[in-house]
């Protein structure tokens, strides 16, 4: 993959992050998949000089990478915004110990929640943890800033955050790749005062951190990453990230202070900019993080009174709020269109189980993953979905509140490994009679199909020990354990009823390979009209291959995966395999 010629290339933001880390001499990289961050590590894994790996969760990834840096190799951790919550325990104290070789973590926020459960603003973590944070606007900066972050990390002996958003990670732009820096592995020395955070040492480290921040403050005033561009001085805009690119496109005449560093802020530079312009606004997505800080210095500035505090800001929003006369005319022919939301794939192994849970009127605590696609009618599969692993613990709590409810926790294999094991131990330890269903589709599906400890393969495609879920549950001491076939509905129903009736903690592993991972397609089914009484039961499966016309149910053969779930649900046996001629 070595590229020596300075050649213009178009890269996805996430590929550019990977390239930047590679060029920055990263040796160890770890992460957990999460949209919009997933592809960073996947692209990085193509560079064989780098040891890249998926970890069971972001905390493990962050700590493995931190350890590698403490040990003397440049290291990277990647995650989505909510992943940083999981890793934050390590982050909050790693700023005290500092690192040895450069340590960078990339965190990708998702304003407007394209594929997330919340839209938290990771810049808050930068202020909270006192960790320097860079804010690239596009692919070129993603490469450059990530590369630079390693130097910065070593210069100040601090972890460095690189913050992305969906539109930076998932947009393409032109970059010019460079060559990889190589650094000898730094020596590792035992230094308990630096790396062992007992209170006596931590109190000293806290003071050291403050000194580092003071030096960092001088650096942010100097660095060209924070750039003043004076044009029309009637309005000055302080902004960063992709919003800078939007603004440059739609209102190119305004004066701008582009913040490449989101924390700490360059107070003197901001004051100087404020002096040069008549009016000052802060253009930032999600929280008024910078606005609050700047206002606290007594600088008159407006931000969220102009721009929305909820959801992503688009070029349209900017024009609408700053220069509405520039809005363009358009025609909207979308008004009466039916929606087209994402759904569980035809042939998805989750569909049958949700049908049974609905039939049993179970209280279903769901989790993060593809199965959230079964939330809406007709499957109406879930009562709750909060955060990774919470299905089991929430189910326990609901059971404590209402003993009479049949409470079931449903989570995927990857999610179970991520955060499901401690709550399963809790259910056994505290004897909470809930049923835990692990839908094992052999991959991390929602993010595009990544390996994890339960698949027996690493990120680099090597064979490894496969985590045995049944043996794990038995070792934990779950009194009711069973392994089920996701496409055998009668057996699932029977076992589930037994498990609920037993009133003990139960662990059922439901196996069925993700539809997107299947190599061969089964024979599609067809509806035999003479048997179909239009009862509509099959339509409650929410299968994209099943189409209800006025007077008939039709299976689209190109979409049907031949999973046979509809045939098991149909009371009149109207579904048959298409005859192969």
């Amino acid at each position: 993959m070595e590229m020596h010629r300075a050649e213009k290339r178009i890269m996805l933001g996430n590929e550019a992050f990977a390239r930047g880390a590679y060029e920055g001499g990263v040796e160890v990289a770890a992460g957990y998949p999460g949209t919009p961050s997933t592809e960073i590590l996947q692209f990085l894994s193509h560079y064989r000089e780098v040891h890249s790996r998926w970890s069971p969760n972001e905390k493990v990834a962050f700590e493995v990478a931190s350890g590698a840096a403490i040990g003397g190799k440049r290291a990277l951790a990647t995650m989505k915004h909510v992943g940083l919550n999981v890793a934050s325990d390590a982050l909050m104290t790693l700023v005290y110990t500092g690192i040895n070789a450069g340590f960078v973590f990339i965190v990708a926020d998702d304003p407007s929640m394209h594929s997330s459960q919340n839209e938290q603003d990771s810049r808050n973590y930068a202020f909270f943890a006192k960790v320097p944070a860079l804010e690239p606007a596009n692919s070129a900066e993603a490469l450059l800033f990530t590369r630079l972050a390693f130097q910065l990390s070593e210069e100040f002996d601090l972890p460095v955050m690189v913050r992305s958003t969906t539109r930076v990670s998932h947009s393409r732009g032109v970059v010019i790749p460079g060559v990889r820096e190589t650094h000898p592995v730094r020596p590792y020395r035992k230094a308990a005062e630096k790396y062992v955070m007992i209170p006596a040492f931590a109190r000293k480290s806290r003071v050291v951190l403050q000194e580092k921040l003071k030096m960092l403050q001088e650096w942010v005033e100097e660095t060209p990453l924070n750039r003043i561009e004076i044009r029309d001085t009637s309005l000055g805009v302080i902004t960063g990230g992709v919003l800078y690119d939007y603004l440059r496109e739609v209102l190119p005449s305004l004066s701008v202070l582009k913040l490449g560093v989101g924390y700490p802020l360059p107070r003197k530079k901001i004051e100087a900019f404020a002096e040069k312009v008549e009016k000052l606004v802060v253009l930032e997505e999600i929280d008024p993080v910078w606005e609050r800080e700047i206002k606290s210095w007594g600088i008159p500035v407006r931000g969220k009174e102009i721009f929305p505090e909820i959801g992503e800001i688009t070029p349209d929003t900017i024009v609408e709020r700053l220069s509405p006369e520039k809005k363009r005319e358009y025609i909207d022919l979308s008004t009466y269109l039916p929606p087209r939301p994402p759904v569980l794939c035809a042939g998805c192994p989750h569909r049958g189980i949700f049908t049974i849970l609905r039939e049993l009127e179970a209280t279903v605590c769901g989790d993060i993953g593809c199965y959230t696609l079964g939330t809406l009618p007709p499957l109406s599969a879930m009562d709750t979905c909060l955060c990774m692993g919470a299905s089991i613990s929430l189910a326990e709590g609901i059971k404590l509140a209402h003993q009479e409810l049949p409470v079931v926790a449903v989570l995927g294999d990857s999610t179970f490994v991520h955060a499901g094991i401690p709550p399963l131990i809790d259910a056994v330890y505290n004897k909470t009679p809930i049923v835990v269903l692990v839908l094992d589709n052999g991959t991390t599906a929602m993010t595009g199909g990544q390996d994890h400890p339960g698949t027996g393969k690493t990120l680099l495609g090597e064979e490894t020990v496969r985590l045995d879920f049944v043996a794990l549950a038995q070792a934990i001491g779950v009194p009711f354990v069973a392994r089920l076939d996701a496409y055998h509905l009668a057996h699932i129903r029977e076992t589930l009823q037994k498990a609920l009736a037993a009133r003990i903690p139960a662990f059922l592993i439901v196996e069925g390979l993700c539809q997107l991972k299947k190599k061969e397609r089964a024979v599609p089914l067809t509806v035999e009209d003479q048997w179909c009484l239009l009862c509509g039961l099959c339509n409650t499966l929410g299968c994209p291959a099943l189409l209800k016309e006025e007077e008939m149910v039709h299976i689209t053969p190109e979409r049907c995966a031949g999973c046979g779930v509809c045939a098991q649900v149909c009371p009149f046996c109207a579904m048959r395999e298409v005859e192969v001629r």
């Binding site: 213009k8 290339r9 178009i10 996805l12 949209t35 919009p36 997933t38 592809e39 394209h114 594929s115 596009n138 539109r167 998932h170 947009s171 393409r172 732009g173 032109v174 992709v242 690119d245 939007y246 440059r248 496109e249 739609v250 688009t314 070029p315 349209d316 024009v319 809005k327 363009r328 005319e329 358009y330 025609i331 909207d332 022919l333 979308s334 009466y336 269109l337 039916p338 929606p339 087209r340 994402p342 759904v343 569980l344 794939c345 593809c370 696609l373 009618p377 929602m446 993010t447 595009g448 339509n539 929410g542 994209p544 291959a545 099943l546 189409l547 209800k548 016309e549 006025e550 190109e558």
Partner: protein, 187 residues
């Protein structure tokens, strides 16, 4: 020279690959390109849109409403959904293929889509791209058929430029198939 376009359709129809080819073609002409796409949840059969901007300078990967000069719609109804991004009188290349959203009664699917677009003042070209791709033996190359049709209308790039971009985007066995699909669409 500058401009912008949207590509829209349903997740899994090869919209990202098609926009990659367009971007590669434009870059080879010495232009800058910014493009935004949808990953994750929206790939599960949901509606998908890609924005693409090009020029000597190109900053924002997202377009404004009323901005795009071109649209390539990989599915008929999705063309209507994203008309707000189009400039008045924009050029629309639309696949004749209709994919009914699951769980929606089929009579809610709009009829006479090309006529509706024409009446709204757009320059419409309808291409039976899915049909043609099935004749070529793989429905997945409908995207290249559409691109071939689009390449005749789009003022930048000759046949060779486009085919070079396809060479950059695909390799191995699928390359030839994608090239023939492109030529089929361009013919």
């Amino acid at each position: 020279m500058k401009g912008s376009m949207v590509l829209c359709g349903v997740g899994g129809m090869g919209i990202l690959k098609a926009s990659e080819v367009i971007a590669e073609m434009l870059i080879a002409q010495g232009l800058f390109v910014r493009q935004s796409e949808v990953h994750g949840m929206a790939q599960r059969g949901g509606t998908v849109i890609t924005h693409l901007r090009f020029g000597e300078e190109a900053y924002s990967p997202l377009l404004m409403r009323g901005e795009a000069e071109y649209m390539i719609a990989f599915e008929s109804m999705e063309a209507l959904r994203y008309t707000p991004y189009l400039k008045l009188g924009a050029t629309v290349v639309v696949n004749s293929f209709c994919l009914h959203p699951p769980g929606v009664n089929s009579h809610r699917y709009p009829t006479n889509i090309p006529e509706t677009l024409q009446q709204a003042g757009f320059q419409v070209t309808v291409i039976p791209a899915t049909e043609k791709s099935l004749k070529l033996g793989d429905v997945r190359v409908a995207n290249m058929v559409l691109l071939g049709a689009f390449s005749r209308i789009f003022p930048i790039g000759n046949k060779e430029d486009w085919e070079n971009a396809i060479h950059k985007t695909f390799s191995g066995e699928v390359l030839e198939l994608n090239l023939s699909a492109f030529r089929e669409g361009r013919a």
